[in-house]
């Protein structure tokens, strides 16, 4: 009897435990998608919770925290590149805005650090909005070069405005204090950045299965068809550009707070390329791919240090090899291979 009542009111159904919904005969496709979202978030949460078991020293917490920070930035860029199909070669610029916001806010304006992080995110969103309007009209290679120019411009500003930013030598960043508790130590930062990445992943998963997310994915394949269905293409691009800028900005703030020191390099050209490489390597349009891509590009240089001067040579060869043999990126290629084997 109670089951029938639940079926009559789909809104209640959503609050049922996962297993119950999957098991019931009346499972709809929409439920399956909600379940996919939930299992994805749970899987990432389990990874974050379990991985430290294998850490022999606190140094590993430090590296893993960096992985989550870069994964967050890569995830935002993946929404733009992998889902909406718009490239950005200047995304480190937004990391720079976030990083310098938490450095400059407390030092020059006496703002609390946590508030500076939000100010940085708002600033990044505003800059993305203003820059995105003219730039996102461009397509493909032209958009790539325009965003490249934007990134270079910001890096030069951070480097030249020495009064505010300390110039090329950078500036130190005050500790993050939350309700009287100073966040310090690699272990704390591990949990802090891991939790933030988890939230970022949950938001991204929500977005993908929503009207705005479907509009984003539609313009990737056919702007003409999207427009004919009532989608404002320019606005959709702008929205996803702003969202991805906020992801990068928060990641930049974390990086600055975690390292305690910041230089213009955070917003540099190489950083932007690194972010793009993380997205493509891990898998365009794959949430888990952003985490894997960031992990590979943060961990590999650490692992390869024993090769000394050959480190970069081997790193380059590995990247080329991965792209040749897993051409859709690590996660989508492996997922497709597993699917092919099981069926």
């Amino acid at each position: 009897m109670s089951v029938r009542r639940i079926d009559e009111r789909p809104a209640v159904k959503e609050t049922l435990p996962l297993g119950r919904r999957l098991g019931s005969a009346g499972t709809t496709i929409a439920d399956r998608f909600a379940a996919y979202r939930l299992t994805s978030v749970l899987a990432i949460a389990v990874v974050i919770a379990v991985v430290p078991v294998f850490f022999p020293s606190t140094y590993y917490y430090r590296v893993a925290a960096l992985v989550y920070v870069f994964a967050l930035a890569a995830l935002g860029l993946n929404l733009l590149m992998g889902f909406a199909g718009q490239v950005s070669l200047g995304h480190a610029g937004f990391m720079g805005i976030g990083a310098y916001a938490v450095a400059i806010g407390p030092t020059h304006f006496g703002l609390p650090t946590w508030l500076s992080l939000f100010v940085g995110a708002a600033l990044s969103a505003g800059v993305a909005f203003l820059v995105g309007r003219p730039i996102l009209r461009l397509r493909g290679h032209y958009l790539a070069v325009a965003t490249l120019g934007f990134g270079l411009l910001l890096a030069i500003v951070f480097s030249n405005e020495a009064e505010w930013t300390g110039g090329p030598d950078g500036m130190s960043v005050r500790r993050l204090v939350l309700i009287g508790w100073a966040v310090r130590g690699s272990e704390n930062w591990y949990w802090f950045s891991g939790a933030t990445f988890l939230v970022g992943a949950a938001l991204a998963l929500n977005l993908i299965d929503s009207p705005a997310g479907r509009a984003m994915r539609a313009i990737h394949d056919s702007e003409t068809a999207a427009r004919v269905l009532g989608i404002d293409v320019a606005r959709t691009k702008l929205v996803v550009f702003v969202i991805s800028a906020i992801y990068a900005s928060v990641a930049g703030s974390y990086l600055a707070l975690f390292n305690g020191h910041i230089t213009p390099e955070v917003a540099g050209f190489l950083r932007s390329i690194e972010l793009v490489a993380m997205v493509v390597l891990g898998g365009m349009g794959s949430i888990a791919g952003s985490l894997v891509g960031a992990a590979v590009l943060v961990l590999l240089p650490q692992v390869l240090t024993f090769l000394h001067e050959y480190e970069h040579l081997v790193l380059g060869l590995i990247l080329m090899g991965v792209m040749i043999f897993l051409r859709n990126g690590i996660v989508p290629s492996i997922a497709a291979a597993l699917k092919g084997r099981s069926s």
Partner: protein, 262 residues
Amino acid sequence: MTILATENLSMRFGGLRALDGVSIAIPERCVFSIIGPNGAGKTTLFNMISGIYTPRDGRVLLAGEDVTGLKPERLARRGLSRTFQNLQIFFRMTAIENVMVGRYRHERTGIIADLIHLPMVGRQNRETRELAQAALNRVGLAAIAEQSAGSLAYGDLKRLEIARALASEPKVLLLDEPAAGCNPVETASLEGVIRDIAAGGVTVVLVEHDMRLVMNVSDRIHVLANGATLAEGSAEEVRTNQAVIEAYLGVHGSRRDSRAVH
């Protein structure tokens, strides 16, 4: 009542006059076909009506209102939808997701609600999926809803575009050569689909080369040749119109004509 009309519509591409002063009045709730030899200006006309091209001269009226030069997304919100001769499919999505995009203009949640997945987004998603599935059922694609659009056969993709346009609940649906590339069985079932859409109160405007399909489903046929109106009337009137026979259906038959008569 006239739901869609053009008045003296003209378009030029460089020196080429693609369309020259075409006036058409399409009555509500009918199947209205536009035919003509290749290069007659049919697709150009569609592109102007749906806002992809801006007319050089003339007006487009939708439900009595002047919509000349409105962007496609604005026209979509006023109830005009279309399919494409060269497919415009979202290949990275599943079949049903393609159709769900068609519901976009009816979805009411904002970006913040979407990001944090408020309960209303879940409810709306469920409704969107149900209506998308219903649209797939109507075109005979019920079984392939969860397949990736990239893996579908050509004939199925043609119907997928129709389902996607249908899901947007248009008042007027423009079909640009839906039977092109389809086999005779697919074309025959397409006839049923078009009748079903029209029976649902949607005005269907059809550009098509398959004459059997056109003659079978059309309430009215407008014939274009060289960018200008040649004739208009019922299937029977057009079939027996001397100017049309000479210019287009040509019983004496050049190769192009014989292809068109098929």
